[in-house]
């Protein structure tokens, strides 16, 4: 149940993010859209490895061996994914700052110097 809710939330977030990316004209808003999209992806990843009533896959002593754990791999992956996503967001924001400095606008329509 928990994992279904998480999965649904994740997919919803992805769609909301996508909608924002495709409809917003402001660079910052597009970046926010990307962040929402990215978080949605992360939630989906977590929900894949989730097992009801299981504990975190951390073994401190041998007596814990018999318990059921959630799948550790997606959790490990999601950490990396978060870091990368953060990096990309920061990078895009830096771009946005420089672009604003150069052109005085944050509208994505005003950066069409190259085409065809």
């Amino acid at each position: 149940m928990t994992s279904t809710i998480a999965m649904t939330t994740g997919i919803l977030l992805v769609l909301i993010g996508l909608f924002a990316i495709l409809t917003q004209k402001d660079l910052i808003r597009i970046i926010v859209g990307f962040s929402i999209f990215d978080i949605g992806v992360h939630v989906i990843m977590i929900s894949i490895g989730y097992i009801s009533d299981a504990t975190a896959p951390i073994i401190e002593n041998l007596s814990q061996l018999g318990q059921s754990y959630v799948d550790p791999v997606p959790q490990a992956l999601v950490l990396t994914a978060i870091v990368i996503g953060l990096g990309i967001s920061a990078f895009m924001l830096t771009f946005a700052v420089f672009m604003f400095k150069k052109r005085g606008s944050l509208d994505i329509n005003s950066f069409r110097d190259l085409k065809w």
Binding site: L22, L27, F34, A81, I84, I88, N109, F111, W116
Partner: protein, 1046 residues
């Protein structure tokens, strides 16, 4: 062996340590960068050599002390070794290139370059899905930093669009990866591949699809690649080079890994996407005028080709598939990198402005090498790869794939060679200078040399390849090395080499080949004599010339289809460069090149089908195709292919311009000699395949009509020209029409006529072009209405023209008559009277232009400006005299060459041969004695001449201005000249023949493609959001396509 993991360790380690060395200065930063990249190149070179020679075995490198699938593992096999070598070398050379040109001298540039390189190596080596994703991100982020190197607004915009698109696709990929992990329980590519049962494939389809489409979009398929184009256009050329050579290569391999992992789920899909990208990008590129963006279009189209070819060879299980792909890949990587580096040196946005390259003329060599390699011409690796591919595809009867690949690459040749034409012919503004540093030259020449050097190993690796007579190629390469010598010395060396190579060839080759070998070798020697009139060192002339003649000799010597095609292409390339040297020949040379290339592709396809049917690559076994269902198709393709060279009507539109605008000593070569290569090919085809029918239609019958109409149209158009060289050029169209007609008769006499015509046409067309060349050399004009009265100024030239037009017209007593007599016999014997009548009528039309030639140039009044004109220079006259001697010999003793040619033809067509008794030839229709005819004519001529001499004494000489003109000054002086529009009355009757039907047809195709390009490229609006929308739409459309949603 150094552990392959050091490829990543060195790059990342150096990148981080640069962070500590921030204050160390520019030199230190770049030293670290270059040293690390050199080390990485050495590591991958070591592995590549070891793996290919078999001294080491492929290595799997586990990490973190666990073996896969628990841990992430890297792999170093042949492919990984080769690809890492390729990317590391190209990043190394690009970094070298950047040193002097990069504006921002910060430590970040070397750091980004190293991080980028580590990403590339990681993508290539990793066998773990998630790790692949991480390395793709590392590469993309580093690349986005490199894109904005100069920090201008264009780069910022391009970089932002690139990150945005990358972020979206990597999100999709990530979802795909996690779902695939969920279905298969593993992230290891090999484990997943083994675990994928048909049920799992169905369950996990969505996940696999998302990974696949993510990597596919990273490859920037048409039409979702606007963001990629912006990167190519705006980034520093060195960055463009690493994107094209490095990022594209690594991503392609990632794509291949994913596609293999998914079983054959997506092969058809990637074939479609690859084909659409290859053709689509090439067509859209037609309208592109900006150099770097053009390179972007070309890069993306080549990546499309690679995707298409890779999926095709997997799908069809082609034995050599990987080598084919690698051959294309390595050519594309180095060729494109070289072009980007060149663009960094030239620094001209528009391709029209590339004429400035001539300030550093040697740069034209790597430029030409890169362009020719991209098109897939010999001796580059792509040539062999393409050959192998077409052979395999033809064997599997993949007609659509062959058509797409060859058609797309023809379109690619259009814009690439147009670009070369601009660079070669356009002149730059005088106040501009081109500065080049050593760091820039080294990569450019390394790229060019690598492309040449890799050709040889590529030829060894191909399966259907036969040993190529490399000696000729080696000599061509040698001529590049002696470019610094004066033209006269080079002329002697090349002539000596041709004589040295050609003489033994003539004595040993035998069969019908000896006729053509004679034309090519003797022709080469004779037509090179005018070269002595050139001063300076005539840069680029001798490599091109040697390429053409080596090609011609190569096709004579070839025993296998591959070496034939190899040298056929080499001949085309050489002659293209020769023609391009003419003053106004830019468009004509391009159209020559394109027609030749199109023809060559048809020949290639025909050889492919023949190989597919007979599994033999020998030219001698071409005849085995005759008994297969593909006989008619092979014959048709070969005939049309060779007819592009003989310029038969419909395919002739390149010839007048190309032959007329070429330099004075090049015109006789391309007209008198080169055209015979087409006749040689046609004869070879007809000998092997004989009569073939498509349905009810006999191909030879159709060709006889083509020949007859070529004769009529060629001769008529020749009569209507104002330009003397164009007149001669159109005359060749007509003459080759006769030859085609003769061959298509498929009888002893028909072939005898065609072959003797080939020999005689060589003699008089060379004389005529040299004579007119000499006149143009002195008068500086080609227009006949600006000439006149030159008989006293240039008597030797007059004599040469007189002899050769008599020979050409086919009236007794000169050599042309023999050929005509044979031809009429052949027509009557065959019974194709209608075509025969057209041929006869064309012969009469020929008189019109021949008369005009002698009348307008040599008779009439001398122009004021020409009062001090001297006879043509000796280097022009000498070969004419030699050839007049040959014509007179052949005319007075025609049996000495007709009889041996008859013997050669008898081998294939024994029936209906002439019987010779001394000089007397007998067919079953009549007889002819050339020697007797000669004596009779000599007698009559002497008598008439004596009569004239006696009567002339009563004539009163009139000075030129012994009359008075009273008129206004005409607006267009030429219209008052009697020779202008000389045959206007005929034009009224036959003007419809002048309607440029073929020109309109081909112009129509070109216009349509360009209009389509102009329309389609509006997809690339420049708006990043539109690009994102296109990506989303692309994912949806491809998904529906794959699942039959439409």
């Amino acid at each position: 062996m150094v552990e392959p993991v050091y490829l990543i360790v060195v790059a990342l380690g150096a990148a981080f340590s640069l962070g500590l060395l921030r204050k160390a200065g520019f030199v230190m930063h770049h030293l670290v960068l270059l040293l690390s990249l050199a080390t990485m190149t050495a590591i991958s070179a070591q592995w590549t050599v070891g793996l290919f020679t078999g001294s080491v075995s492929p290595a799997a490198i586990p990490t973190a002390g666990f073996s896969p699938p628990i841990s992430i593992n890297l792999q170093m096999g042949k492919t990984e070794g080769f690809l890492t070598l390729l990317v590391n070398l190209s990043v190394f050379l690009s970094s070298l290139f950047m040193i002097k040109t990069v504006k921002r001298r910060s430590v970040y540039v070397p750091m980004l370059m190293l991080v980028f390189a580590s990403g590339l190596n990681g993508i290539i080596m990793t066998r773990d899905l998630f790790n692949l994703f991480v390395f793709i991100e590392i590469m993309s982020i580093a690349l986005a930093g490199l894109i904005v190197l100069n920090g201008d607004i264009q780069q910022l915009g391009a970089g932002f669009k690139y990150i945005l698109a990358g972020a979206l696709t990597s999100g999709l990929m990530l979802i795909g990866i996690i779902f695939t992990y969920h279905t298969t329980g593993s992230l290891n590519i090999d484990t997943i591949a083994n675990a994928l049962t048909p049920e799992l494939k169905a369950v996990g389809y969505a996940g696999l699809f998302l990974i696949f489409i993510g990597v596919l979009i990273e490859l920037k398929p048409f039409p979702v690649n606007g963001f990629g184009l912006d990167v190519y256009e705006s980034a520093h050329p060195a960055v463009g080079a690493v994107v094209s050579a490095g990022a594209a290569t690594a991503t392609l391999y990632a794509f291949a890994k994913i596609a293999i992992m998914s079983g054959d789920l997506f092969l058809e899909l990637s074939m479609v996407v690859g084909a659409v990208t290859f053709v689509g990008m090439n067509v859209v590129a037609l309208q592109q005028k900006i150099a770097n963006r053009l390179l972007g279009y070309s890069s993306l189209s080549q990546v499309g080709l690679l995707v298409l070819v890779w999926s095709l060879v997997k799908w069809q299980n082609i034995a050599n598939g990987d080598l084919i792909v690698l051959g294309l890949l390595v050519t594309h990587a180095f060729a494109k990198a070289t072009l980007f580096w060149l663009s960094g040196i030239i620094q001209k946005e528009k391709i029209e402005d590339w004429g400035i390259i001539k300030q550093r003329i040697y740069l034209l060599f790597p430029f030409a090498i890169a362009l020719l390699a991209l098109i897939g011409l010999p001796p580059f690796p792509s040539f062999f790869a393409k050959w192998e591919l077409i052979m395999a595809l033809a064997a599997n009867q993949s007609h659509l794939a062959i058509a797409l690949i060859l058609g797309g690459s023809l379109v690619e040749a259009v814009y690439l060679m147009r670009w070369f034409g601009h660079a070669f012919k356009n002149t730059a503004a005088e106040d501009e200078t081109l500065s080049v540093s050593f760091c820039q030259l080294l990569p450019v020449f390394a790229g060019g040399l690598l492309l040449i050097g890799l050709g040889y190993p590529a030829s060894l690796l191909s399966a259907t390849a036969s040993p190529i007579p490399w000696m000729l190629t080696a000599f061509v390469l040698f001529t590049f090395a002696m470019e610094f010598l004066p033209a006269k010395i080079k002329n002697i060396i090349v002539m000596a080499a041709i004589a040295w190579y050609g003489y033994p060839l003539l004595t040993t080759i035998g069969g019908y080949r000896v006729i053509f070998a004679g034309i090519f070798v003797i022709g080469a020697l004779v037509t090179m004599i005018p070269g002595f009139s050139h001063k300076g060192n005539r840069l680029g002339f001798y490599p091109s010339l040697t390429m053409m003649f080596a090609g011609l000799i190569g096709i004579i010597e070839a025993k296998e289809t591959m070496s034939f095609f190899f040298y056929w292409e080499m001949m085309t390339v050489g002659s293209y460069f020769l023609i391009l040297r003419g003053k106004n020949s830019k468009p004509h040379a391009l159209s020559y090149f394109l027609f030749s290339l199109g023809g060559a592709y048809l020949i290639l396809a025909a050889f492919g089908y023949s190989f597919g049917q007979t599994t033999s690559v020998s030219l001698d076994t071409l005849s085995q195709v005759a008994s297969t269902p593909y006989a008619a198709l092979v014959m048709l393709f070969l005939s049309i292919g060779f007819m592009t060279k003989t310029a038969s009507v419909g395919l002739h539109i390149w010839l007048p311009g190309a032959h007329a605008e070429a330099e004075s000593d090049v015109s006789p070569m391309v007209s008198g000699i080169l055209l015979k290569a087409g006749i040689f090919g046609l004869l070879m085809t007809f000998i092997a395949l004989g009569d073939q029918k498509i349905g009810f239609v006999d191909i030879a019958y159709v060709l006889s009509w083509v020949g007859a109409i070529s004769a009529l149209v060629g001769n008529y158009l020749a009569a209507m020209q104002e330009d003397a060289k164009r007149l001669l050029a159109y005359s060749s169209v007509g003459q080759m029409g006769y030859a085609l007609f003769g061959l298509s008769l498929m009888s002893h006499l028909g072939w005898l006529g065609a072959l003797s015509l080939s020999v005689i046409h060589f003699t008089y067309k060379v004389i005529l072009f040299l004579a007119v060349g000499g006149i143009v050399y002195r008068l500086k004009t080609k227009n006949m209405y600006e000439m006149g009265g030159l008989i006293r100024k240039m008597p030797i030239t007059f004599f040469a023209v007189l002899v050769s037009i008599i020979a050409l017209s086919g009236i007794p007593p000169l050599a042309g008559f023999g050929g005509r007599w044979v031809a009429y016999n052949a027509v009557i014997e065959k019974g194709w009277m209608l075509q025969g009548a057209i041929i006869g009528f064309s012969g009469i039309i020929a008189f019109l232009y021949l008369f005009r030639l002698i009348h307008t140039i040599f008779l009439g009044q001398l122009k004021d400006a020409h009062r001090k004109v001297k006879e043509a220079p000796l280097p022009f006259l000498l070969p004419q005299m030699l050839l007049i001697g040959l014509v007179m010999f052949l005319s007075s003793r025609p049996h000495t060459f007709l009889a041996p040619i008859g013997e050669i033809v008898k081998e294939f067509k024994p029936d209906g041969a002439l019987t010779w008794t001394g000089p007397l030839a007998q067919s079953h229709l009549g007889y002819w004695d050339g020697v007797m005819v000669m004596w009779v004519f000599m007698g009559l001529f002497a008598a008439n001449f004596a009569l004239l001499f006696i009567m002339n004494r009563r004539a009163q000489p009139v000075k030129q201005f012994n009359i008075v003109y009273a008129a206004e000054r005409p607006a267009r002086p030429e219209t008052t000249h009697f020779a202008y529009n000389f045959f206007a009355p005929y034009r009224r009757a036959l003007g419809f023949l002048e309607y440029p039907l073929a020109t309109h047809f081909f112009d129509g195709i070109t216009d349509f493609l360009h209009a389509a390009a102009g329309f389609i490229r509006r997809l690339y609006t420049g708006n990043g959001q539109t690009y994102l929308f296109q990506i989303v739409a692309f994912v949806v459309v491809v998904f529906l396509l794959a699942n039959g949603g439409f």
